[in-house]
């Protein structure tokens, strides 16, 4: 302990690790080793991005949302509707998706920062269902339960068309996800990120250290909504379709499950959770899609009972224990 320089803890944590670089290189190489599964790979990245947006709010800020699909779906419908009405350029469409979702998040944040506990659960749940029912009622515009048809996306940068194999879609999703992770990484390792985690640890104490949290929570809700909208927009553009399920309660619940499964407040929890979840769903629901929810529920129950810190948290704890045992073993020798 004595050898650690006073402030070193912070610098070390925010330093880019070799493992992270390797991880992103390994993902980038996916077309080499799973060329036939690039659509699934893009969807994992999109889901990871969605889970990352929730991580900022729930994992770092400790604020629960049971209606995060509201922002995801808003982004998806924004991108989808733009393309359907002739604005097929993908990048500007994606930016629009992010901005509209962020605007919704900003508006909602004025309600959200005033609430906690069950009331917060209710309002986020209610917001999600409200948008779902709204989209369902406005079937003339959204296509209702048939979904949004006729979404045509122009080639990326005018050069790379979105094809059935999903190569362009994968690269596109990869770059957007990489950028979002870099941004969130920066935020959580900043003084702002530290105060956000302080709020998670002890909301009542923050005012007593002089922190004006309401404004910061509004900001973080806006950013989180924007990132969720980005994920939704990506899904709409890469699949060229938007269904009502983009706004559904199941999607809101799933993203919470994915984050908890991977481990909240650890930056890569959403990515790990998305990977396990999406592949698991692919395998388990292939046999019997109706019972997929049984496995999903069971996973959730087991994680809560035995691994409350998620895969990453459980892994970290295991590592610490193994190291401790190794050290003991060495000492014994």
């Amino acid at each position: 302990m004595e050898s650690i320089a006073p402030g070193a803890g912070f610098e070390r944590r925010s330093r880019l690790r070799a493992g992270e670089v390797l991880l992103w290189l390994a993902i980038a190489a996916a077309p080499l080793y799973v060329p036939g599964h690039l659509v699934l790979a893009s969807q994992i990245l999109i889901t990871a991005l969605f889970a990352l947006s929730l991580d900022l709010l729930l994992g770092y800020g400790g604020m629960i949302s049971l209606g995060h699909a509201a922002y995801f779906g808003t982004g998806a419908y924004t991108a989808g509707l733009l393309a359907q009405h002739g604005w097929s350029e993908p990048i500007s469409g994606l930016v629009a998706a992010m901005l509209v979702a962020a605007a919704l998040g900003f508006a909602a944040s004025f309600v959200i920062v005033r609430l906690s506990g069950v009331a917060l659960l209710m309002v986020t749940l209610g917001l999600g269902l409200l948008l779902f029912e709204l989209a369902n009622a406005l079937a003339d515009i959204t296509g209702g339960s048939d979904g949004l048809q006729g979404v045509e996306i122009a080639p990326l940068l005018g050069l790379f068309g979105f094809d059935m194999v999903g190569r362009t879609g994968f690269v596109y999703a990869y770059l957007v996800a990489l950028g979002a992770f870099a941004l969130v990484r920066r935020i959580v390792h900043s003084p702002f990120g530290l105060s956000l985690q302080g709020y998670r640890e002890n909301p009542a104490r923050m005012a007593q250290i002089g922190a004006p949290m309401a404004a910061r929570l509004r900001l973080v809700n806006t950013i989180s909504a924007g990132l969720a909208g980005l994920a939704g927009g990506l899904l709409a553009q890469t699949t060229q379709f938007v269904g009502l399920d983009a706004l559904g309660f199941e999607r809101s619940a799933e993203v919470v499950i994915i984050l908890i499964l991977g481990g909240g407040g650890r930056l890569y929890g959403g990515l790990v959770g998305a990977l396990v979840f999406m592949i698991g769903r692919d395998v388990l629901s292939e046999a019997n899609p109706e019972y997929w929810y049984f496995w999903l529920g069971l996973i959730l129950v087991l994680v809560v009972l035995f691994m409350p810190q998620g895969i990453l948290g459980g892994g970290a704890a295991l590592l610490v224990r193994l190291r401790g045992r190794a050290a003991l073993g060495e000492a014994a020798r």
Binding site: M1, I4, P6, G7, G9, F10, E11, S14, R186, I187, H189, S190, P191, F192, G193, L194, S195, Q197, G198, E201, N202, A204, R205, M206, A207, Q208, I209, G210, A211, P212, M213, A215, R216
Partner: protein, 253 residues
């Protein structure tokens, strides 16, 4: 020359919950550099008084001023920025943070950089260094990197004071700082309280009369939301009304 402005003052401060008056027209002044104890029987309104001072409760009537600035309407976090800082009777820390993180976060708030989103700590290492020095000053250097919830209770109470000090208070309100600390851990805590800088005005609530008479240079007795009397420890110890309130029990030893 007029009398120097008190570090903290209230006039006619009142608050009631229905029929229960927890603060009844309290006039109070805490001079700069004070070591002041607020005592009184359970339910006298001591913690409510602190909650009024920090802004956790809004008064029904009366004013509060900090070094002459009226802060009655000010939100809590702005009072902290002006130097009015408290600790909690029931330990209120950041369980998964290290002490170093807790103090660095507080210092970032004080320095006005805590809203920075895109700045890393590499360029703010002097703030972490200051946090570490502060921890060393109260004897917590060897716990700087430990997880707060794993610390022994006495060290958590110390950290409670450390977090408050990191906000660089001009007025420090300590709510039962030694409550529940086992005797073998209390030494470091009492040292830290004794070593508080002279330029900080300190007011503390305490039930342990040994502590009160050890640290306080002046005492206010609060009963049923009203100031019963004020004075030096010797005057309070002699006061018949105080004896009556406490039935003499605590004052004999």
């Amino acid at each position: 020359m007029t009398a120097p402005t008190p570090a903290l003052a209230t006039s006619g401060l009142s608050k009631s919950f229905g029929a229960l008056g927890v603060a009844r027209s309290i006039d109070f002044a805490l001079p700069a550099g004070a070591r002041h104890a607020l005592i009184g029987p359970n339910g006298a309104g001591k913690t409510s008084f602190i909650n009024l001072l920090t802004g956790a409760l809004a008064p029904d009537a009366g004013r509060i001023s900090l070094s002459g600035t009226d802060i009655t309407e000010m939100p809590t976090h702005r009072r902290v920025k002006l130097g009015l800082v408290r600790t909690f009777q029931i330990t209120s820390l950041f369980p998964d943070f290290t002490p170093l993180e807790s103090l660095t976060m507080t210092i970032c708030e004080r320095e006005g950089v805590a809203g920075r989103m895109l700045r890393g700590f590499r360029r703010l290492s002097h703030l972490a260094d200051e946090a570490h020095a502060l921890l060393a000053g109260i004897g917590l250097a060897d716990s700087a990197h430990a997880i707060t919830r794993t610390l022994p209770y006495g060290r958590q109470r110390l950290l409670e004071i450390g977090v408050a000090l990191a906000a660089r208070p001009r007025v420090l309100l300590l709510d039962e700082p030694a409550a529940g600390v086992p005797e073998k851990e209390s030494g470091a805590l009492l040292e830290a309280i004794a070593a508080l800088p002279d330029d900080i005005a300190v007011m503390f609530i305490e039930h342990d009369m040994d502590l009160v008479f050890r640290f306080a240079r002046s005492i206010t007795v609060l009963v049923a939301g009203q100031v019963l009397c004020e004075g030096t420890p010797a005057q309070i110890a002699e006061d018949a009304r105080v004896r009556e309130v406490y039935l003499g029990a605590h004052f004999d030893g």
